[in-house]
């Protein structure tokens, strides 16, 4: 698993296992919507996309509990923003307790999308 490239003598050997992202989607507790648990990257994004497709097509306001989302990449954030833009006219996707990186990605790449609400702001 561990390999070196280039000529860098004295490279410390790392005992890091290969680790893939783990991700699950559960029902939100106490309100309609979904609870995202774990990490969204290119290994798990298809799970998120499938769930959003079911949840968002012709839907009203959508709630996502993100307190247990420990990582999300740009592709995952893009999925959220794009599916939010396909909700019924006037409806929004509400992101509850998103991790810092999701706030950061949305802020840097979209500013404040009209169909996304972040809670707390």
């Amino acid at each position: 698993m561990l390999q070196r490239h280039g000529e860098t003598p004295d490279t410390p050997v790392l005992e890091l296992p290969r680790r893939a992202a783990e991700f699950a989607i559960l029902s939100a507790t106490g309100r309609p919507g979904l609870r995202l648990v774990g990490e969204v990257d290119c290994a798990t994004r298809h799970i998120l996309d499938a769930a959003l497709e079911t949840l968002c097509v012709d839907a009203g306001d959508v709630h996502l509990d993100l307190a247990e989302l420990t990582f999300i990449d740009v592709g995952g954030a893009t999925s959220l923003v794009l599916w939010a833009s396909r909700l019924r006219q006037g409806c929004r996707m509400i992101l509850h307790d998103p991790p810092y990186e999701l706030r950061r990605i949305i802020d840097m790449l979209w500013g404040q999308p009209a169909t996304i609400e972040v809670d707390p702001p």
Binding site: G6, C42, A43, D73, L82, S85, L109
Partner: protein, 310 residues
């Protein structure tokens, strides 16, 4: 030489010697824009912001100022967030911009990226009704740096004279000429190979090393985000393995991803895609979050090195 116009794209280099010459070259450019009712952006290092602002007096309030040493610390950030951002804000109206991406004190490894950036402005704004003026300190910058001003700017201004420069080069050819191998790390690096099911391990490694180097917690997350995007490109644009290595040199953490692939466009990572586009934001975000992003393209591999200042 025809008079300056902002109806079509104009990109001029200003070679100045001393404060008075700097003001003589920049302030009339700003005033002409204000007189014509054009939005004006002055993106220069902070001491020059103050110089121009003081000279403009009460008119400074009509000008947008940016400290280029911050906004353009990573030169790859300037086109999407400084230049194109300003042009697009005014949707088709003629605008004027003073952009000073190279100043004395820029680190040597930043210079080729600045020159590539200057060349690609000619591509990024080719269709924009914008006049961009780029001051260069002819007294303090290295002769090697100054030689490139004529290759990246179709027009040079010096001693009050504007002349079309015969050495102006095709932007992509110039960018490719500066596609150079990156020096080997000067300190031991931690390394890992990965495939598309191993990106979590890449983030772990980078997070661990960056924290140990003393990078602030949110900057650690920024670096993990950036590396993850580059690593994603390495394993999804072409099936296979990538390799990542992380090390520290002085007060910066460096993280390099090497993977299979070919670069299709040097403008990648320098333009914001349309809001409804599903792709094209990974390298862009890395440029936004990191202090420097170096790329070396070989026929069958791309190496991307991210720098974070501690």
């Amino acid at each position: 030489m025809t008079p300056r116009t902002t109806e079509t794209f104009v990109h001029e280099g200003l070679l100045y010697r001393g404060c008075a010459d700097y003001l003589a070259g920049t302030v009339p450019f700003v005033r002409d824009g204000l007189d014509a009712g054009e939005p004006v952006l002055v993106a220069v290092p902070q001491p020059h912001v103050e110089l121009i602002s003081d000279e403009l007096g009460g008119d400074a309030g009509q000008v947008r100022f940016l400290d280029m040493a911050k906004a353009g610390r990573n030169p790859n950030r300037i086109i999407p967030w400084v230049l194109r951002g300003f042009v697009d804000e005014f949707r088709g109206r003629p605008v004027r911009i003073i952009g000073e991406p190279i100043w004395p004190g820029r680190a040597p490894e930043e210079i080729p990226l600045c020159v590539q950036h200057e060349a690609l402005i000619n591509v990024a704004l080719a269709d924009a009704p914008a006049a961009v003026l780029c001051p260069y300190d002819a007294n303090a910058l290295d002769a090697g740096v100054l030689l490139y001003t004529g290759r990246t700017h179709p027009v040079l201004v010096e001693d009050g004279e504007r002349r079309r420069h015969p050495g102006y080069a095709d932007p992509y050819a110039l960018v490719a000429l500066l596609n150079l191998p990156l020096p080997e790390p000067t300190a031991p690096a931690a390394e890992l190979t990965f495939d598309r099911l191993g990106l979590a391990g890449v983030r772990d490694l980078v997070g661990d090393r960056a924290r140990r180097a003393g990078l602030a917690p949110r900057r650690v997350v920024d670096l993990q985000l950036a590396v993850n995007e580059i690593a994603t490109n390495a394993v999804t644009h072409a099936d296979g393995f990538g390799a990542v290595r992380v090390w520290q040199e002085g007060l910066r953490v460096l993280c390099e991803v090497r993977g299979p692939g070919e670069l299709t466009d040097w403008m990648a990572g320098r333009l914001l895609p349309p809001p409804d586009s599903a792709r094209g934001r990974g390298l862009l975000l890395a440029n936004r979050l990191c202090d420097l992003v170096q790329t070396y393209v070989q026929p069958d591999a791309i190496t991307t090195r991210l720098h974070m200042l501690i």
